[in-house]
Each structure stands twice: as C-alpha cells, then as structure tokens.
Symmetry: C2
C-alpha cells in the first residue's frame, strides 16, 4: 500500500480499534469513533474520562490503533502512545452538537477528554501483501499536515 | 446484553479482531476471519503458520478476541488464551474449497494451522450499558455446544 492509500483507508473509516493493556495485564481492545487525523500518524478520539480504557491508558500509554476495511481486505496497525488530553482547543475541535447527552456539563465537563494517539511506526496488510511503515516515513508524509475531520472531507 | 444477544453478535460477524503482544512487547491487533464458534467461549481461526501474529502467539498466548457491530454499537471483548493447533480434525473442519491458493499443499500443508481461542471472561459494550461476563457464565452458556459455522447458520 502507498502512503496515500493508507491515508484514504484512515479517512474513510468512522471507527478504529485501540489495543492496550488493562490494569490486570490483559490485552484489551476497544472500538472507538475516530475521524480526526493529522496525516497517518496522529489521531484524536473524544471519550468519557471515567471509561475503563482511559483509566488503563493513564497507567500504561503504550497502545496500537487499527483501521481496517473488511470489504477491501485492507488494514493498518499503528504502534505508539496515547496521551489523555484535556486542552480546551482539542475539546472544542471535536465537540459535536448533541454531545451533551454524553457530557452533560458541556465542553468543560471533566468527564470529557480527548485521547491523542501518536504513532511511532506501523504495519499494513492487504490482499496483495504487507509492509512496514517507519517513524520517518510517517513524519515525512505528515509534514505540515493539520488536524482535519477526514471522514467529512472524504464523504 | 443477554448471552443470546452476545451469541447473535458473534454469529453474524464474519471477522473478529485479535489483540496480542508481539515479540517487541507492543500491543498489536490483527483482523481475522472468524466464523467457527463453540458457544461464546471457543473460536477457531484458520491462518498461515508463518504469519507474524501466529509467531507472536506461540511465544505469548494471552490474547483478547473482539467482535463488534459498528451499526448497532455492540461489542464483546473476550479475554483468554490462543493455542496454535495442527490437528487434522480442526484443519479438515475449517477447510474451504479454493483454500489451496493460501495453502498449496492442502490440508496437510504445514503452513496451515488453526488458532483456537478459549475465553476465561469477557466484557460487553452497548449503547444501553456495559457489563462483565464471568468464566462460569460462559461455561454455563456453552455447556453441550459443539463447534458450528455460526455465520452460515445465521445467514
């Protein structure tokens, strides 16, 4: 897969899967809504601070983020860290009308946080072969990119 | 979610995601074709022995298996172990016409193996709430069940 094809797979996905380790040392997966991307390497996910996966990621930030399309047999697994972010800038950027049903106190609700995933490397899978993505590949491709809602730009 | 609703989610899925740790200690996810189930707790997945995830699971068998439906906002994460199995019984059961394109030597191809995932516990997620599934819940539900192709029974 080319970097552009990987970017397209990420942009047309509404959801991704986070792989992380929980406090019991178990491998864990959580499906998350993930449409804000800064190139291939950085992704923002809004979620409830009190959720089990956020609490686990506060203890162990090593994680992977997986985007896939079961119809085209494409997948990309990114390896990196998750920072639990409370900046108003990110919280405002990802806020959608109606989010009060999840966060009754609005943007400043302390139960509203943004997970920022930053990739160090990756691996892609497709019917026609698999390959590695290095940190410098990602950095090169992402240079001068900004955070955008890839799904809304795509559709 | 009731156990029957969890079973239905599993049966109507063509794919699941395996979460495991690789040799570099990284959290990893791999999307796998997964339609053979023995109740909620046991699942068979055919794959290439030489694949990276099989090699990782031979070293560390702790894993999770995640089934989800993005349209109904349902997810089930099962925690357990993966055994890399070479029994002719399983290999015959999962063999499909045309699989020679993946395993040129047929059923006895040493690059053809079956991952057997056995759950110890689980966690489910749905719009209306989440909950835990204990090992004894799973054992009770799965009693006297046999391996079946849940997807073909469902569709």
């Amino acid at each position: 897969m080319t970097n552009d094809e990987i970017m397209m797979l990420i942009n047309r996905s509404l959801f991704a899967s986070i792989g992380y380790m929980d406090e019991a040392g178990r491998q864990n997966i959580r499906r998350v809504f993930c449409v804000w991307h800064k190139g291939i390497g950085r992704h923002l996910i809004s979620t409830n601070t009190s959720s089990a996966h956020v609490q686990s990621l506060l203890i162990n930030k090593k994680a992977c983020l997986y985007f896939s399309d079961d119809e085209t047999f494409e997948g990309i697994c990114l390896y990196g860290d998750v920072e639990v972010n409370f900046s108003r800038e990110y919280k405002k950027l990802l806020w959608n009308e109606g989010d009060e049903k999840y966060y009754p106190k609005g943007i400043d609700d302390e139960d509203y946080c943004i997970l920022e995933f930053a990739a160090e490397s990756g691996k892609f899978y497709r019917y026609d072969g698999k390959g590695e993505l290095s940190g410098s590949d990602i950095m090169e491709f992402d240079r001068e990119k900004e955070f955008v809602n890839g799904y809304s730009e795509y559709s």
